[in-house]
Symmetry: C2
Subunit: 145 residues, 2 copies
DNA sequence: CTCCGGTATGTTATAATATTTCATCGGGTG
DNA sequence: CACCCGATGAAATATTATAACATACCGGAG
């Protein structure tokens, strides 16, 4: 486990403690798997990774993911049915994700300003914003090819 | 079939003809079902609606939806696994959807400006933007309750 | 006309994603 | 201890989506 992952897990534990949330072993393990992956992870891949530990079932993984996303420790990528650890824990507002279709890299920005309301007085509770394309490394590689 | 739906179907036919695309009976029928629904429709609901016509199978529906979304006649709502007819056919750029969680109403804006690029030279090909909340009618109803 | 290539559809089966339901465990609280 | 409650275990099932192969149809080339 890299130093970076360890630090993120420690930060997550602190964040949970201050909010009165329980970062239990399964939840922590799932978060670790998300942190260790260079690209978004699918629920059933997490499930497979957990199998060696003990015969985990789908609900185990989905419950952990539900907890992590509610706690702001992870994000669900809607158009991929996949999940990624939040790299801006504590950031306010919903995240905008930039997902490289070539290498899977996910970059992330949390919006600071509240989203302005939509047309006709539509009141926004929650936004899903996902941008698909090429990260700078992959864009460069592609251009030179 | 309401006047409005008829008009939208005619417009879709014209749009397809000018682009050399074939709005075949299944595709047209699926688009009609999307146009007639006041709320987003799930693929298997479309499938059920098609059954009476003849025993349609999942691939039939998914292929039609794929065609319609590519042709810009419909949108897939990623976070709902559902589909809705495009109300701005011919609008440039990707759509931003405003989805009422109370009544299912979908409002839609097409972005005029190209999306600015993301962090670190990330190059955006395609964006998914979905806002969830309350339409003005439902927001008012809620407030007075 | 006949053949051929491409697009669209039909058909069967299966893969991938997600939830429901009920049982159990374990830690706090009175 | 008796109770509650949040978390987990376990089995079954629901929902969403695709793979793979066969068939039909329509255009143009020969
Ligand atoms: Zn984040
Ligand atoms: Zn990349
Ligand atoms: Zn549209
Ligand atoms: Zn509404």
């Amino acid at each position: 486990m890299t130093e970076e992952v360890t630090r993120a897990l420690t930060a997550a534990e602190r964040a949970c403690r201050t909010k009165g949330l329980a970062l239990t072993p399964v939840r922590r393990r799932v978060l670790q798997l998300l942190l260790e992956s260079p690209a978004p992870v699918k629920a059933y891949d997490l499930l497979a990774s957990l199998k060696p530990d003990g015969g985990a079932q789908p609900p185990t993984v989905y419950r952990a993911l539900d907890f992590l996303t509610r706690a702001g420790l992870a994000h669900r990528i809607e158009a991929l049915n996949a999940y990624t650890a939040c790299v801006h824990v504590g950031g306010r507002g919903s995240a905008e994700l930039y997902i490289c279709e070539a290498c899977g890299l996910v970059e992330e920005r949390h919006r600071h300003r509240a989203p302005e309301d939509g047309p006709d007085g539509f009141h926004i509770n929650r936004s899903v914003v996902e941008h698909y394309g090429r990260c700078s490394a992959c864009a460069t590689a592609q251009a030179s090819a």
